[in-house]
Amino acid sequence: MDKRITLKIAKIEDEAKDIKTFTFKHKLDAKPGQFIMLTDFEGGEKPFSISDCTKEEFSITVKRIGEFTSRLFQKCVGDYVSIRGAYGSSFFISKNKVLLVGGGYAVPTFYFFAKVLLEAGADITLINGARTKAEHIFADRFNELDIKAINATDDGSFGEKGTAVDVAERILANQLVSKLQPNKLVSKPQLGDTKHFQAGAWKRENKKKFDFVYASGPEMMMKTLQPLLKGVDYEFLFERYMKCAIGICGNCTMDPLGIRLCVEGPVLPKKLMEQLTEFGKYHRDAAGKRVKY
């Protein structure tokens, strides 16, 4: 039984203008890539990826988008919300050289994932992309991990210039980014401010190829990324409109396989991705109506 549990918000952190991390003191049995369903009983129950998960607590990182997330943003520490899960598939835990390509509010799930990968002994390169500096998140957190974190913004206002996919393309073309210097802390970190980092410098020394690429971000980002991934294994984290999250309502099925993103997803392996005709073309809304990208 996926018992629902009602929890007090233990911590709220501002990540960027419209992005907050909510932390709960509860031992959640979750694997990286999985999600929870969260509600405040005021209308709406929504899926959120787990951005951190330890033995004592777990976090989600939320972008304010519409009615539900706006209400969530008004909550305070100590307020109750109710969750169920964790649900869904999780990322394959590679022990080798991996590339994580993330964009926007979908990046934080890689924070939880990277910690698990590190424990497994993986050699991690992360591309942490956002449109612009003000929307770029989690750079400082990733910096504390023993990974190569490459920050990127579409407009170059922070880290590399270009989309996460642009950076991935470059890296994959060269396949040599295993010894990137970590970002340097140049001033005291402040919430929501990432200025205090100096992007790490490249060291072209290791030519070992990536064994696995993981992506989490807007669907069109992953759609652009996919053609670059010939010959390398990968997994993508997807979003579809979810209602039951327990695999019965069928709202989240993906064509033509009929796999349910809430059960067989949200992390889908290459083998499935290659068969999905709806990927990057359309998704279904709350009524099950097709909506084109």
Partner: protein, 308 residues
Amino acid sequence: MQKSLKTEFLGITITSPLVLPAGVMGMAFSGFNISIENGAGIVTSKSLTLKSRTGHKGPVVAEFEGGFLNCMGLCNPGIVDGLAEIDQFKERSDIPVIVSVFATNTKDFLELTKYVNKSQADFLELNLSCPNVFDEFGIPLAASQDEVHKIIKAVKQVSTLPVIAKLSPNVYDIVSIAKTAESAGADALCMINTVGPGMLIDTKMVNPVLFNKFGGLSGPCVKPIALKLIYQTYSAVNIPIIGMGGVTYGEDAIEMLMAGAIVIGVGTAVHYRGIEVFNKINNEILEFMDENGYKSLKDIPRLEKLEM
């Protein structure tokens, strides 16, 4: 000799007696694909309405010991888009499709029927019994013998497909309603829809768990209620019954057959046992037939009819 699960439903031969019921995995054509790949013999669409509906706000499901509450609120893409999914499914499959439709009056049911006539569907199912749109539409139609009679009679005159009436367990006397449906011309009955409805409360936040407050019960715990109603109805009518409600294992499906069902819906069990549940149950039925020396589904005996 090879045991077989082949059977007939309203003149059409099906390879498994298991039905994907309305509202379960029936939004997209791909939901049908995966169900039949995993052994379903008939698939049913989500109940379609004239206009698309986004349904109730979440939470729309809540678990308890023995089952689930749900109050999806008839979310569906509308009859036109819904039938497009079915036609797309039918491009590549012969598996029979039941199109479930929902409306609140005869006129709308007739309009829906006309759309369905033009589709690739095999059967038309009238959902007279959604328990989760009470606020919006009031007492389910299936609670009124007059309404049931009027609607079925009208639809039968227009429909080019066999008509199935889906009944609610939440009425005082389901047998009379079933008989009414039969006398109005229904070709088959589908029962039961979700039970109750019921409610669960979050004690920390002092709030109903479902945003809609109430939701219908499905899952293992409704099986005894379903079996009883199916058995009573089977004893009283001569049209075939699609039996459902809590079927999770082969044993449950056998109970449904013995109670009088001719084919068996498997809904909530898709959650409990995965989408492979259809194959699993098919195999369990075959094992049961083996152990008890039945060669075909028809050999499986039924309970003696109740005296009425």
